[in-house]
Amino acid sequence: MRALVLGGLLAAVFVAAAAVSFVWTPGDVTAVDIANRLQPPGGSYPLGTDHFGRDLVSMVMVGARVSIAVALVAVGIGMGLGVPLGLAAAATRGSWLDEVIMRGNDLVFAFPALLIAILITAVFGPSALNAIIAIGIFNVPVFARVTRGAALSLWTREFILAARVAGKGRIRISVEHILPNVANLLIVQGTIQFSLGILAEAGLSYVGLGAQPPTPSWGRMLAEAQTMISFAPHLALVPGLSIVLMVLGLNLMGDGLRDLLDPRVRKARA
């Protein structure tokens, strides 16, 4: 519970910063002000400025927006495709459909994710959208697997048998009974994938495959700061710590949510 509150607070700080950045940031993240570049933290620039003289507070705020958006949509893609696939696989356990879905899952898992992301951007060019797609694709099997696993154990439960005796079809049972009962698990997994998505986005934009300039992104800030780490360490510390804190917050939240929502854990605690 403490984890949930602490993690929630951490994540909320960044979400709030991202939200505020739509209407206000302390400085202009697209304007270049060479005269004021590489200012150390303090004074009118609480976190300092980067090599173009942009205010790091503003950069982090707008960067949070990109990170959150990319990770969130990627989780959305993963859930949107993975959950129905997982439900379908579980509902037709042992059939060819189940086999195809699960083998497809294994295949996606077998591909090195970062490489595929690089290939995707090689085909379509780097952009936040392609980062989303690349991360999203690898979320699909995660959600499919989690959903199928949880759904399979539900399908043997007597209330599902009861629904089948009541003449309900597999699709209807999946939607009416299975889905609501795996929802908690999905929320927990979603939080975890969200935090992994933030890390993945940082990694992708670090190698230049994420959101394109002038849109700031944490990963690219790190990449750009890298050569200056020896004389302007704040450039690497600020985005790096932002990633760490945001991910930490989400992970703590995930842990807390799991304790709160996951019936298995709840039972174990009781």
Binding site: P112, L115, A122, S195, S230, L248
Partner: protein, 315 residues
Amino acid sequence: MLRYGLRRAASMLVSLAVASVVIFCAIEVVPGDPAQYMLGLNASPDTVAALRAELGLDQQPVTRYMSWITGMLRGDFGISYTYRTPVAQMVADRLWISLPLALYALILSTAIAFPVGIMAAARRGSVVDMGVIGATQLGIAVPNFWFAMILVVIFAINLGWFSAGGFPGWEGGLLAGIKALTLPAIALALPQASILARVMRSALIDTLGEDFVRTARAKGLSRRQVLWRHALRNALIPVLTIIGLQFSFLLAGAIIIENVFYLPGLGRLVFQAIAARDLIVVESVVMLLVFAVILVTFLVDLAYAWVDPRLRGAR
């Protein structure tokens, strides 16, 4: 056992065949021409065409796919467009860095995660456990490339204990090679160790709640004895899964770390090859990595059977 192996091998082959088609098609649509890349800004179009012909790029995709596949079955991965050397040789050379690095990182992360995870599970709820939970949460949240940067600044630039990167080659001695791989392995291992420690801890806590643990306690075993003699091996099953996943991740996912430490590994090879549109190298390396993942999955399955006698019956 033989039949089981055959069946697994057959399904592996199907996966590989599907993967090869997916990889080839994906790479077919990558825009960019290796010949143009090689010849640069001043080359005339007919020069580019001449090079394309020389590289065999003017053939139909189906022909190229078939020759790629049949070549690969013979162990011939083709000739790199840019390096003009056999891909198999290049890949083999790079593997001698990527594989030891992945193993090193895996050993490190296991060596850290096991004691830490066990300690935390054994003293569940204690200060030690809380500390482990916090530290591993932090470890997971740290992007490994950022951690790598910090390691370089501290240990290579300021302290000078390690070289900042590069690889002297195994012919320079085992110790020198291991030393060169140490910082990269640490950077790779930290987040992995955190994940592994958490899995270890929760798997152990789960098994410690099992009935047979209670039976063992009723025999007169102490908590510690139960943990070591009964719970640990049972907890290994989920841990093995994660180790299997991590190995494939370490093999393929080290691209960024290999860049930070300018290690001539597989990841960097494929990264460069994509940039240079050396597509035959990309295809072969991706194929190889997919093969490695599938192989590791297979080995993990075998390891399950080793740990769990119930699965041995299912052969």
